[in-house]
Structures are given as structure tokens and as C-alpha cells.
Subunit: 414 residues, 2 copies
């Protein structure tokens, strides 16, 4: 642990020693009114890789503008190609099990319905009350539609999931368990292997949401025996606002599962346009409509950049950044009334850190006015997202220092 | 009707007199290997407006690259804003009834499920066997899931839908009728007002697919009393490959209908992230996940360009183009074995013309080799898409002339 008394020079020294420092130059400058932002929100919307801006321009002007319909010859393969890229470098999945398509919400819906159909007679869906809203709402909707029970694990919000609590909620009535690998609010990191195992022991299928882990935490979908997964690409994968999400279906399950939205992109002979839906073998049967081309190439560019950095080095830096933040927050912010709303153990934490304070919303607004961008998260939480590929140790220093000044100016502790 | 004997000069004269001719310069050049394409496939993938390329670049570099998360303050309103723009200028819908989101496939799924739920006790979904594959497959999937009947109207493929046939298929067992306004293969144009009326008489809801009419044929959703509609934006709306689709829900129905994918974008207090799904009043309740920003701004740019041209002038030109094509095809192609696979009456036809020929696939490939891009559509059909805002009369002349030469070179009629 660095002594905060070494001051900003300590942060500068860490940046100078950071093997990933050079990647900062591969991203567009984050600025407002000509001044740099301190951007600690890459876990909400990741920064723009310069290569992505160039690639999208080429796709728009050359492939669409000039090439027009002929470009579909290669565009059509993009969802699976981008999926394979994610699988190889970031998600621990052999080819043919991931596709980039639709939104996280829609993918979650498709896979949860498919899982439920694959476990007839089992009428319980399990999730937790700290799961991201769209996950809870989507599962609620499915449960209402199907007359199933949505069973909520109570997490205690900041502590995250432990295997004992999950095991207690899962039984032989359970069709599917849907959990986030890294919790969106607390950053609590679930033990994917252990939880998947215990879910399998009950005979249920396991559906992971990787929105807050993909690109920041190593994921081993195949090795953990995960059945299903979804995740977005606009956070640590830096694919841009509303870029398409991904879905994973373990190879052995692909023929057994049928998703509910029978779109023509999942059809075996796409242009035969025959009378009956006959889904293609393989992961494409889980796609639906026309692929969002510009968004998928952005996923490819983002994934390539992270692959070049290496997910293990990214994880190492993510831990170093979050630990450094706590090294500063412990002496500076906790005495002003903040408390840690993330796991203390870095092995149980993703790449963001959340602090509780009753006046979190005002602090967050005051930080934004000083061009320090973090997230307010209800209830009363400051969320500092430390994207390993773009965040500098000086960003962390400056953000915590500004937070301290703002809190002191507010007369805290009051 | 022009006498084809006036030759290409007749086509040039028509281009010179075309009040929309100037719009051609507002689009990127369609070319391959430095040579212009004759692109009659704008009904499959519309051409790139230059303004769209510039807007997307700004959105990527400035709004995402620099502005980052702060840009969500205005991005969040895009789905409804783009929907209103379509409604005002192209689809005849008052504000608050259209959103740009998801794909046509996903939107069709959401609205068909919502319609079915809104008509409890009615177990029949009606569509037609000439409807676009994704429409038929999606409805098939819903019927299989819900244990409903999917009742197929038999159209005879090229003639399109008439009210008598539709009326015969619809009864007091019918929950929802889902039809295309312009048929993807034949271009047959359905009478939206008359069919909507007769569907309403049975107590069912009417769901229109506008993929092949939006931007080429005036649509009056409100005036026709349409309940629901979906459509894509990458054809006549020129929003690019995989740009998001639109959906329409008539205002009076919005509170009664509940779509099945309960995503957080439809939630009343988005960032409260409360325990239960509580959909916002209004059209946003039919959206699901994070909006695809770059795709939606492309819809706005495409819609603005068409609005500037004016949908009535676009329709006039669409009719003039398809009539001109038939003026040439009648003496040149029909004697070589082609037959018309579209309605002869322009009032019953959208903006493409389809010809049947047993060797259509080879003819289509030979045209592509000569840089004339049309669509092959199964079975044995040549589809000439005449996008009113970009297609010139000389394009039509050249395409039919090349087709004639190719067919003669093939020794047709054989």
C-alpha cells in the first residue's frame, strides 16, 4: 500500500511504471470546453478507441456508401466473428459459442426463456435483489408471463453473493439461475466456478450477466462450465453507446435450446425464405434480426485493443487502481463520513469501487462541475469506475483529492 | 407512357425534368473498382446520405469521444424524437406514438405478444403466406409458445392481399392480424384503411409491417386507425446496415398493452432502479435496452432528407419510375420469357417491380457482373428496387437495357 503522504508524485511514479500506460494514447481525448475530464465512468460508457472511430468511418463510407448491398457478403459473418474474438481473448470460450447481437436486455430475455423451456416441470427462476434492474425486470416479466416464481436472493447490497446463500435458494424446482458476475453497484465479484457447480448440482441452468466483468476481469466460461451468458459491450469493451451486446450458449446446449424470437437471421437457409422456421445449427440460432454492422465492428476494435493489452495485465492493473483508490480514500474520505460499499478484498471485487455517503448525490454533482466524472448510484453511493486500459493513477489521485476538497467545502462531516 | 423508341434520350429528358434530381448529389457515390454502380437495390439497403456520414462522425468523435457519459442527457430522448420525425413526415402519426429501437424482428415479437395478451380468449394470429420470412417465423414462434393457431392467408404470391380474402380469414377467434403494407417480393400494396377497418370489425388488433413502404409510399397510420406497426430503416429510409427499426402503438392502446421484454429503458424512474418493473406511460414502455445511438441519428438524417423531398413527390416519382420500367420491360423483356410478378396497377404497387423468369438467378448474377445491382428473390424472380430519392430514369433504362442484352446473350427465349 502506497503512503498517501508521498502525494501526487506517488501517482505519477505509478503511471510511469504502468506497462499499460501507452494504451491511453490509443483513445480519444475526454474533454469538456477544451479541458480534460477525469473520467472514472468507463464502467458505464467506455472511452472511444481511435481505431474504432477510423474503422466506423471506413465501414460507413466505403463498405456501406460504396459497396452497398455487396458488403453483406462479409457483414453477415460479423456476429459470430466478433463473438469468437471475445471468447478467445476475454471470456474463455472456444469458437462457435458467442454471438454479438441485440441488446443485453433482449439477449437475457431470449436465453432465460430458452432455459425455462429446457427444464419443463421446473417453475422457479432465481436471481438476486442486487442484480442490475434490467435483469430483475426481464426475469419478472418472464415469470409473470409463464406463471413462474421469481425467487430473490437477498444479498445485503454491498457484500455480494456467497455460495451458501445461492445454494439455499436453488433446488429441484429451479429451472434457471441468473446472476451478475460483477455486481453493478458494489463491484462484488461472484465465484463463477463454484456457483455454476452448485447450480448444476440442482439440475438448473446457469445464466451469467457479464456486463461489469467483460474486459476487466478474466472470465472462463468454458472452464467454469457456464451454460449461458450475456453482457454489454459499451462499458469496459469500449464499443460505444448502444453497441450490440453478446450472448454465450455452451456448445452442447445449442441444439437443445430454442429461443423465443424466431427471426430470419437464425434461419438455416436465410434467402430460401421457406415456409417454416428451421434454425441453423450453432450459435446463430440465438440471433434474431439484421445485425447492427457499425456497432459490431466497434466491438471487434475494442476487443482487439484489450486483447493486445492482455486480460491478465488488465486485471492486475484494475486491482492496483482500486487498491490505490482505497489507500487514498481510507485516510481522506472515510473520516468525512464515507464508508466502503464494495468488498474490501480485491480478489472479490471487480474494477470499480463504491463508497456510501448520505450526500452522495450532491458530491457527485459537485465533482462533475469540476470535470471529475463518476457515477451516482441509488441509494447514496459514489461509484468510481477504474477502466484498466484508460485510467491513470493520477486520475485516481485527482478524483479522490477533489472529492475530499468538495466534502470539506460542504462542511462534512456535518 | 414514353415510347421506348425515344431511346436513352427519353430517360435523360425525364431526369432533367425530375424535381427530385438534385437529391442524387446528397448521397455517396455507389461504385465498385472506380466505376459507378447502377444500384436498384435501395429497397434492400438504401444508399448513404452524405449528411449521415458526417453526423455519425460527429456523434462518434464529439458526443461519444469527448462528451462521453454526459451525452446520455440528450441521447436518451433519441428513440422518441426519431419516432416523432418519422410520424410527422412519413408515417402520418401524431407525436408520442413511434419509437426507434431494436430490430424489426424484435419489435414485431414485442407487439404481437402484447396484442395477444390484450385479447384474452382469442387464440388465432392471422398473417399471409407471402409475408416476409421474419414476420412468419416470429409469429410461428409465438403461436408455438402460446399454443395459438397461426392462420395463413393464401395470397397467390404476386397478386397481394385483397380485402375479401383477409375478411374471410378473420373472425371473433382472432386476436391479431399481422400483414405487410407493401409485399417484399411482389410490391403489392395493401389497402391499409380498408383492411384495418375490417380487422377492427372482428374485434382483433391490426399490426402492420411497413418495411417496404416507409419512405416510399405515403402511410397514414393515425387516419387509418392502425393499432400497431413496425418497420425497418435501412431500406428507403437510408439509415444503414442494421440501423434500429421503429415501432408504432396507437396512443389509446399504450396503457392497455404490455410488451413481454421488460427492459430498464421502459422503466418509469430509470435511475431509481427500484425493485419492480413499472413501465413509463407513453411509447417508451415499448422500448427495451440501451438505444443504439449512431443508428438512431442515421434514421433522423435519412428521415430529414425524405421530408425535404416530400413523401408525395417521392410517391409520384416512385410511380413514374416503376411505370417507366414496365414501359421498357413490356417490349424488351416479356418477349424473352419474363412475366410481371407485381401488380400492373401502380396504385396497388409500391416502389419496386418484380419480374418472373425461370433463369432469374443467372440473369441477376450476370447483371451484377456488369455492375447492375438488383435482387434475386426466390422463386425465380428479378426484383428491381426503385428508391425515389436516388434512382434516376437513366438507371432504369440502363438496367433494363443490360437485362435485355444479357438475356439475348443467354439465347433466350431458349
Amino acid at each position: 500500500m502506497t503512503d498517501p503522504s508521498t502525494g501526487r508524485a506517488g501517482a505519477l511514479a505509478r503511471d510511469a511504471a504502468d506497462p499499460l500506460a501507452e494504451f491511453g494514447d490509443r483513445f480519444a481525448r475526454a474533454e469538456r470546453d477544451g479541458h480534460d475530464l477525469i473520467y472514472l465512468d468507463g464502467n458505464s460508457l467506455g472511452r472511444l478507441p481511435l481505431a474504432t472511430a477510423e474503422r466506423i468511418t471506413r465501414v460507413i463510407r466505403d463498405e456501406w456508401g460504396s459497396g452497398l448491398i455487396g458488403s453483406w457478403d462479409h457483414w453477415i459473418g460479423l456476429p459470430a466473428q466478433a463473438g469468437d474474438l471475445l471468447g478467445e481473448h476475454l471470456l474463455g470460450a472456444a469458437p462457435g459459442q458467442l454471438a454479438v447481437c441485440d441488446s443485453t436486455t433482449v439477449n437475457l430475455y431470449k436465453l432465460a426463456c430458452a432455459a425455462l423451456d429446457a427444464r419443463p416441470g421446473r417453475t422457479v427462476i432465481v436471481t438476486d435483489d442486487d442484480n442490475f434492474p434490467t435483469d430483475r425486470y426481464v426475469l419478472q416479466g418472464i415469470a409473470a408471463q409463464r406463471g413462474c416464481e421469481l425467487r430473490m436472493i437477498h444479498t445485503g447490497m454491498d457484500a455480494g453473493l456467497d455460495e451458501v446463500t445461492v445454494a439455499a435458494a436453488v433446488g429441484d424446482d429451479t429451472a434457471v439461475v441468473s446472476l451478475s458476475h460483477v455486481a453493478y453497484r458494489s463491484a462484488a465479484l461472484a465465484d463463477m466456478a463454484a456457483i455454476t457447480d452448485l447450480v448444476h448440482e440442482s439440475g438448473a441452468l446457469m445464466l451469467w450477466d457479464l456486463c461489469h466483468s467483460a474486459g476487466s476481469v478474466p472470465v472462463q466460461l468454458d472452464a467454469c462450465g457456464a451454460d449461458l451468458a450475456v453482457g454489454c459491450t459499451y462499458k469496459y469493451l469500449n464499443a460505444g453507446p448502444g453497441a450490440p451486446a453478446f450472448l454465450y450458449v455452451r456448445r452442447e446446449l445449442q441444439d437443445q435450446l430454442r429461443q423465443p424470437i424466431w427471426g430470419w437471421l437464425g434461419q438455416r437457409d436465410l434467402f430460401e425464405m421457406g415456409p417454416d422456421y428451421d434454425p441453423v445449427p450453432g450459435i446463430e440460432r440465438f440471433t434474431t434480426g439484421t445485425p447492427q454492422v457499425a456497432g459490431i465492428v466497434a466491438v471487434q476494435e475494442g476487443a482487439r485493443l484489450l486483447a493486445e493489452a492482455g486480460i491478465d495485465r488488465l486485471r492486475d492493473k484494475g486491482i492496483a487502481l482500486t487498491e490505490y483508490l482505497l489507500t487514498l480514500a481510507d485516510p481522506w474520505l472515510m473520516p468525512l463520513g464515507c464508508s466502503l460499499a464494495s468488498p474490501r478484498d480485491p480478489a472479490r471485487r471487480g474494477s470499480h469501487v463504491t463508497l456510501h455517503h448520505p450526500r452522495a448525490r450532491q458530491i457527485c454533482q459537485a465533482l462533475a462541475a469540476r470535470r471529475v466524472i463518476i457515477d451516482y448510484r441509488s441509494p447514496s453511493r459514489l461509484r468510481f469506475g477504474l477502466a484498466p486500459i484508460t485510467t491513470r493513477f493520477t486520475d485516481v489521485w485527482d478524483a479522490v483529492d477533489e472529492t475530499r476538497q468538495i466534502m470539506e467545502d460542504m462542511g462534512l462531516p456535518g
